[in-house]
């Protein structure tokens, strides 16, 4: 299987650690990169071309998760984007669906993350 690069964007260090640990448990060779805000994620995009991005919705800074997803889409149409959020309102779910990105509601579980990656 191809080694993939995953960008985890979440202001919660605990959430980043949990997602990273789950991915590593299944895909040991994959490269994991982290960003604690949407702005940090976007600043990393010039050097980083993630195959997969797991993005929180509600984060500090000027960009929310859907805006980060838009930037990711502009860079690459093939990046798999997963919106991982505690905000499970239908309005957010609908916006994610309209952008063609996966929606995963927190809390984080191994099953949810691995299913979204499959």
């Amino acid at each position: 299987m191809k080694v993939k690069t995953v960008l985890i964007v979440d202001d919660s260090r605990v959430s980043r650690m949990m997602v990273s640990a789950i991915i590593k448990s299944q895909y040991k060779d994959w490269k994991i990169e982290e960003a604690a805000s949407g702005d940090e994620a976007v600043s990393k995009l010039t050097e980083l071309h993630p195959d997969i991005a797991v993005v929180d919705f509600n984060m500090p800074g000027s960009l929310d998760g859907l805006q980060v997803a838009e930037k990711l889409r502009q860079q690459s149409a093939t990046t798999q984007i997963i919106l991982l959020t505690a905000n499970i309102q239908d309005s957010i779910r609908d916006k994610a669906a309209a952008m063609g990105i996966s929606f995963v509601g927190k809390p984080i579980t191994e099953e949810k993350i691995l299913t979204a990656l499959a």
């Binding site: 605990v14 650690m17 509600n58 309102q89 927190k106």
Partner: protein, 204 residues
């Protein structure tokens, strides 16, 4: 004096129940224990006398996560746990997922509880918003420790607030937490409008 009709009160209780069902499911997934939900308590109070309505929480140190919400409904949501139990909750959350030594759980206490609060408060709020068909934005969660007076110190003491209080209990851990929503008069009017609209939609 603000009053709700019996029907408005009944619908609000039911909607809070739906919200807390979602919040309890999220908490249960995180701590891997059954979570019981108390009967929602709805009351109006001034901030300065709020402790009379939250007598269970009036003594001792609490660990709190506070999150503001705005948009079609504005207010504050708080998740409260007894301060001496907060580390145990963090341990329950992280134990199976992350290789952290028992001694190091305290390093993650604030961040982990903020995230737990974020998930639970959003689960409750999202379910309410979905039921009443509106959308709200939430601020980032703020973690704070202290007694109730300290935790509410930033609020306008004279304003009337709607207090929606629900007890969440971890069945096998003897831990009780509380979710509280605080809304001012302006927000209460909005909420009643949403409830009336919902009432019309289900009785049409």
């Amino acid at each position: 004096m603000i009053t709700l009709t019996e029907l408005q009160h009944d619908i609000l209780t039911e909607i809070i129940n739906i919200g807390m069902g979602s919040a309890a499911a999220a908490l249960s997934t995180m701590v891997k224990d059954e979570v019981t939900i108390g009967v929602p308590n709805i009351s109006f109070s001034s901030v300065e006398s709020i402790q009379d309505n939250l007598i269970e929480l009036s003594s001792g140190k609490l660990a709190a996560v506070r999150q503001g919400f705005n948009g079609e409904l504005e207010g504050d949501a708080m998740l409260l746990f007894p301060g001496d139990k907060s580390l145990e909750i963090v341990r329950l959350l992280l134990a199976d997922t992350l290789p952290i030594d028992n001694d190091n759980f305290s390093d993650f206490e604030q961040e982990a509880l903020s995230e737990i609060g974020n998930i639970i408060l959003n689960a409750g709020l999202s379910a309410i918003a979905n039921t009443l068909k509106f959308s709200v934005s939430s601020s980032l969660p703020l973690y704070k420790q202290g007694d109730m007076t300290t935790l509410l110190s930033s609020s306008d003491q004279t304003q009337t607030v709607l207090i929606l209080k629900v007890e969440l209990g971890l069945e096998h851990k003897q831990i009780k937490g509380y979710v509280i929503y605080l809304m001012d008069i302006h927000a209460i009017d909005h909420l009643i409008t949403h409830i009336d609209r919902y009432l019309k939609s289900i009785t049409a």
